[in-house]
């Protein structure tokens, strides 16, 4: 038996014209934490889906503990000793922790589920790996961090010897991240091989012992973590050095373009946003920090008008738009880069031209504004406008007719950004503007946002990345559980203070990981 827990040899997979994996070799040594990093679209998710039997490779070998395997479903992978914690949890909200953990491999007594044995099993595993959990709690009542612990327990219950964690920190507060890493280290010491899929360099340096970097579907670097630096990892991810855009600081402030006054949003009687007030002026970038799911998106939806407010008022450039439809708000001077690119920000089956045209299709050069041609579009005008934006935003595509769904995540994001910035609205809401974008393009997008501010417009920037907020925002508001719990001026803001505010209330509520 070799020392490798898993060996992938020459894995290739293509989706239509997109080569997701191109001859990838990956060796995971037993009992180590191995980071697989790369930008979105680099092929990490595809590679992990192949390893876990969700996707079949076009070619290549999967060798688990010395034995060649061919997985036709995740059940085969689980049987071979693999476990995966997905970015989006796959749990039954209405059932208890214990029921979720043992699902699919239940301890039975006389043909019935042995609940006592299940609970005991969960407690035993939890203690062994330092995962604090209550087996009788309903999963629907748990925080994101606690649900993730349930996912990990589920894998451990099935005797996973190789544990794949896909972007595990995306939904966690900083203190939850620290505790997760304690669990990861403990699991590795106990002989479990952990694969950490991430694009965050700091995490890789903190917890992994080896790193494989992917770029454009190929391995672009293999490192022993202790012998590498963040600069080296960034170079492997992007192929070049990256400069961090420095926040050039505030210019002169102009009129108020957005005023939110005591706004609350309730959905199915649960208050998502509670009594939030904020304002954005011309020449200013106001940041909203917070762990995903603390009401930021509901606040944005309320300002855009896709969600109704239950209390409060919203003014755009002085006009009260509280009950107004989306079209009226956009006409009053609003553009939005939404968080959910595929679901809300684009039509993936439609062409780049069509995606770039929406909202601009009644104005020149696409729409014919007056007289006889009113209501008709110039397809040539739309194409010309699209090809200009493709070159000015450096959208990598085979042509303006290509469907947005077949672009890489970063290029699809550029389509959204190009469309929204070109409204030249007095207020831009940018929600996670650089998610899924490669490090090189992040620079370009940050530069665009700073130019937008410099042109005398206002931006409300919602981000999970503290570094992004520090690089761009003049003020940072922190949201937790639907409320604004802290506000920092540019001069007072620091990663530690923002992070503490993002997590502070979570710790108080006793949701912290305890190792």
């Amino acid at each position: 038996m070799s020392t490798a827990a898993v060996e992938l040899r020459g894995i290739s997979k293509r989706f239509d014209a997109v080569v997701a994996n191109d001859g990838i070799d990956l060796v995971l040594a037993r009992g180590t934490v191995h980071a697989v990093m790369g930008e979105n679209g680099a092929g990490k998710s595809t590679l992990m889906s192949i390893l876990f039997g969700l996707v079949r490779p076009d070619s290549g070998e999967i060798i688990v503990e010395g034995e060649a395997r061919s997985f036709s479903s995740p059940l085969d992978a689980i049987a071979a000793g693999l476990g995966m914690v997905h970015q989006h949890f796959r749990l039954f909200d209405s059932m208890t922790v214990a029921e979720n953990v043992v699902f699919g491999a239940e301890p039975t007594r006389g043909g019935r589920i042995d609940r006592a044995a299940a609970a005991a099993r969960v407690l035993d595993l939890a203690e062994r790996y330092g995962l604090d959990t209550d087996p009788q709690a309903r999963v629907g009542d748990l925080s994101a961090g606690a649900r993730q612990r349930v996912e990990i327990l589920k894998a451990l219950h099935r005797d996973a010897r190789i544990l794949i964690l896909d972007e595990p920190t995306a939904v966690l507060t900083p203190s939850e991240v620290t505790s997760l890493f304690t669990v990861v280290r403990r699991a590795a010491e106990a002989g479990t091989t952990v694969v950490l899929v991430t694009h965050k360099i700091q995490e890789v340096l903190d917890v992994s012992s080896e790193v494989t970097v992917l770029r454009d579907g190929r391995v672009s670097g293999r490192f022993v973590t202790a012998e590498t630096t963040s600069a080296e990892l960034v170079r492997a991810m992007t192929g070049r050095e990256v400069e961090i855009v420095a926040n050039p600081g505030t210019g002169s402030l102009g009129d108020t373009v957005l005023e939110v006054e005591g706004v609350s949003v309730a959905e199915a009687r649960v208050e998502r946003v509670s009594n939030v007030s904020l304002s954005v002026r011309r020449g200013e970038i106001v940041g909203i920090a917070g762990v995903s799911g603390n009401g930021q998106h509901d606040l944005v939806a309320a300002i855009l008008g896709t969600t109704a407010v239950s209390a409060g008022r919203i003014r755009l450039g002085g006009d009260d738009v509280t009950g107004a439809p989306v079209a009226a708000r956009r006409a009053a001077g609003l553009a939005v880069i939404p968080e959910d690119r595929r679901g809300e920000g684009s039509a993936v089956t439609m062409s780049i031209t069509e995606n770039l045209s929406l909202g601009h299709h009644r104005q020149p050069p696409i729409g014919r504004p007056n007289g006889f041609g009113r209501g008709w579009m110039s397809l040539a005008g739309a194409r010309r406008r699209a090809s200009e934006q493709i070159s000015s935003y450096d959208i990598r595509t085979s042509g303006e007719k290509q469907p947005v769904g077949s672009l890489s995540g970063g290029n699809a994001q550029k389509v959204v950004i190009a469309r929204e910035l070109s409204f030249e609205a007095p207020l831009l809401i940018a929600e996670q503007p650089t998610q899924g974008v490669d490090v090189g393009a992040i620079e370009a997008i940050h530069g665009r946002l700073l130019d937008y501010r410099a042109s005398g417009r206002g931006i409300l920037l919602v981000s999970h990345e503290i570094s992004e907020l520090l690089a761009l925002a003049d003020r940072v508001l922190v949201m937790f559980a639907g409320e604004i719990v802290a506000e920092f001026d540019r001069t007072q803001a620091s990663a530690e203070r923002i992070g503490a505010a993002m997590a502070g209330a979570a710790a108080a509520a006793g949701e912290e990981w305890t190792a």
Partner: protein, 346 residues
């Protein structure tokens, strides 16, 4: 390479048709008959030069009812109420053409326009039902359709019935109110030209107009449309109104054509509505493809009768093939959704 070929958008629809024909052949074989004879009879019956007049007329009606399904399909809505809209248009056209005593040059256009307005208005009701009360358009159209059919049936049996006739039918329209024929063709009339004109208008509006673009965006991703400020409720009102108007037009043309009267059940029983729906689905709602896919269902429809005569295969086989095509296309929707899920790399 093969993978790329199998992903071509035309593969599934063409495959569906081929598979349907093969399944039909198996059914005919199991019945102890000869499938080649049967299919030859279908082609012969529909493409025989002596029948072409009738074939073209049927193609026009299926194209028309294809649009009735295709227009809402552009924004992702299913209009299953074609029958009710068709019948309502037919009865309206009959009333206007027969009861107002107008000269033909006024009566015929007025009858067509009135039919379009009444059917359009009737179909449009489904839009506010969806926006205000959350009743899906696919449901309300399906459930409202028999109501319209029943109302028309009542009218033709009682107030408008031909006296002394045992059939549920109206008297024949005055000669003046017959739709203008093309030369001495018996079935094909100016109505076919109107339907072709409507198809051209749909194509141009779909590809060149702001509203057509907004419909397609809404069909591709409704949330994207709402986020950009489009109003799906208003678009649905327009799409359903236009679809209903086209159905009304088809109904009016049928009633104003030979045998120039409204006969209870005569608009529904040929199955134009569901042949049109199948053609629209097979075309994926694309305006330029509807007339092409309609050819297939026209051949099945018209040739079915001669297949029954010469090969002794019941004409219901046409409906079976139509059904198989729809099932395969529905399967594609499911498989596409799965593929999209697997191929996602976020």
């Amino acid at each position: 390479m093969i993978a790329r070929l199998t992903r071509h958008p035309a593969v599934v629809p063409i495959g569906a048709v081929v598979l349907a024909i093969l399944i039909g052949a198996v059914i005919i074989l199991l019945a102890g008959l000869n499938p080649i004879d049967a299919y030859a009879a279908v082609l012969q019956g529909s493409l025989d030069p002596r029948n072409l007049d009738y074939t073209f007329a049927v193609w026009g009606f299926i194209c028309g009812m294809g649009l009735v399904a295709a227009i809402p399909l552009r924004m992702g809505e299913f209009n299953l109420g074609g029958n009710g809209q068709l019948v309502l248009g037919g009865i309206t056209a009959y009333v206007v053409a027969s009861q107002l005593g107008l000269p033909g040059i006024v009566a015929v256009p007025l009858a067509l326009i009135a039919a379009m307005i009444v059917s359009g208005g009737f179909a449009a009701v489904s839009a506010p039902l969806a926006t205000r009360f959350g009743i899906p358009i696919i449901i309300s159209t399906l459930l409202l359709s028999p109501v319209a059919v029943a109302v028309a049936s009542y009218l033709v049996r009682f107030p408008l019935a031909e006296k002394g006739s045992g059939n549920a039918q109206t008297p024949v329209l005055p000669e003046d109110a017959h739709i203008w024929s093309l030369g001495d063709l018996r079935y094909t009339s100016v109505g076919l030209l109107l339907i072709i004109a409507v198809m051209v208008i749909f194509y141009v509006v779909d590809s060149r107009s702001a509203v057509g673009f907004e419909l397609r965006v809404t069909g591709a991703n409704r949330r994207f449309g709402e986020y950009a400020g489009l109003k799906p409720g208003r678009l649905a009102l327009g799409a359903m109104g236009s679809a209903g108007a086209v159905a009304g037009l088809v109904g009016a043309i049928i009633v104003l054509s030979s045998p120039y009267r409204f006969i209870d059940g005569a608009l529904i029983s040929p199955g134009y509505t569901f042949a049109g729906l199948a053609a629209a689905l097979l075309a994926g709602g694309r305006p330029a493809l509807v007339p092409v896919t309609a050819i297939l269902f026209t051949i099945l429809q018209v040739g079915g009768a001669s297949m029954e005569r010469t090969a002794e295969v019941p004409r219901q086989l046409s409906d079976v093939l139509q059904g198989v095509v729809i099932v395969i296309l529905a399967l594609r929707v499911v498989l596409d959704a799965r593929r999209a899920g697997a191929g996602k790399d976020s």
